[in-house]
Symmetry: C2
Subunit: 277 residues, 2 copies
Amino acid sequence: MDRNQLFQQIQKKRSFLCVGLDTDILKIPKHLLDKPDPVFFFNKEIIDATAQYTVAYKPNLAFYESLGWQGWESLEKTVEYVRENYPEIFLIADAKRGDIGNTSNLYARAFFEKLDFDAITVAPYMGEDSVKPFMTYPEKWVILLALTSNKGASDFQFLQNEETGDPLFESVLKTSQNWGTPENLMYVVGATKAEKLSEIREIVPHHFLLVPGVGAQGGSLEAVAENGMNSQCGLLVNSSRGIIYASAGEDYAEKAGEAACKVQEDMEKLLKGRKLI
Amino acid sequence: MDRNQLFQQIQKKRSFLCVGLDTDILKIPKHLLDKPDPVFFFNKEIIDATAQYTVAYKPNLAFYESLGWQGWESLEKTVEYVRENYPEIFLIADAKRGDIGNTSNLYARAFFEKLDFDAITVAPYMGEDSVKPFMTYPEKWVILLALTSNKGASDFQFLQNEETGDPLFESVLKTSQNWGTPENLMYVVGATKAEKLSEIREIVPHHFLLVPGVGAQGGSLEAVAENGMNSQCGLLVNSSRGIIYASAGEDYAEKAGEAACKVQEDMEKLLKGRKLI
């Protein structure tokens, strides 16, 4: 999917919501555990209930890997289900991969060929040759970690460079612009650092930003939109637990749909306020 | 496995070799492709041929993920095979994971509970709460990326901090010592930067270092030993392609054994030179 198609989806659905499919077998409703593949069943119901309010889904790989090969099978079935039933959706593998060049090639094969994801999150520590193999696929995307939403973000991401004065996350933003374009590169920027978003927008005016940390982690949607939106929206805001675990009962899918609808309505107002729809 | 047990293995086998099981279905001998699980079959034969010369195996996850859930199944069978037949081996998941705290918990569950690895490689970019969940398991290890062996290492790992003058990889070494001890924390230090090893040894005198990049990537074993060895050896030196692809013919396992034996003989000399055996 290219950038214009993504913006068109945002306009059509009046939403820039990404739903994080962080499906933990220990947290899904207990009555699902006698299904043949409870994780896939849960995902399918959540997707059916939320797809009209959502432009992207983002399974986090940790949740699937914790179940071994069966978890990977659930993930593969989930990706196929979205592709078959909601082909307009932007699918993100939240995998935070990154390795030496010939190994990153294999990760790209895993997520863009074996699995038909549109994008993968990548960690920047190992530099250019760990990131670029993901960019050789047309209409596939790297989403590079820049400023994350967790407490540990302060350990290294704010270390200032002696020569330029830039904190590390700004060095990542600036250096990586030589590796890709706004057509194949996005950045992860945590909502808990919303005050930083306007500084980041000055460095990367045209790139999409994937913003986790709204809701459970405490970030505000309004602050994110105010500081981060550009003329093509330029934001995918993720919510995981607030939507997929909106209810632990038999009405979990219905409640997830209601929670997603509520976020979509807030997003619609923000898009209208910016005259983007 | 604790640090003393690891050193005892090194003394007993007169080797600090780690064999990288970077098993690429496109590179293994063609006559294996009609086996029910060619990747597992290849690994099993390589392990049987090299285990007497080897203290650790290190499957890189990318190679298994590129085959989807079947690849994960091959990995699980490989781990079980090592555990059943060579219980003395130190098993490293070269996964380069790292995510916000509650997600790293799930990765720890994946690699230390679902799979019985001894250690996992972790990327430091997201800081303390992305690393510590792996350290809550007794006798399990984090191997944190410090200075990697690839070209892209120079993009961020050498950026010097304004306040301390330390390059980023030294900040990682220093800060992370507050998170773990030489009993549960090792570091990845590439052999292609062997001249840096003695500086690194001053910062982390007691920690084990996992050293990739000897052989195919051009690093020298002698230089690594000279600059990096400590009183408990303190080194695991990885070789992947030079051993597992020593031959592309039907004698691939035999040739892998010979290649591992040759490295072990060199390592024995270096251990004797330091009076460690």
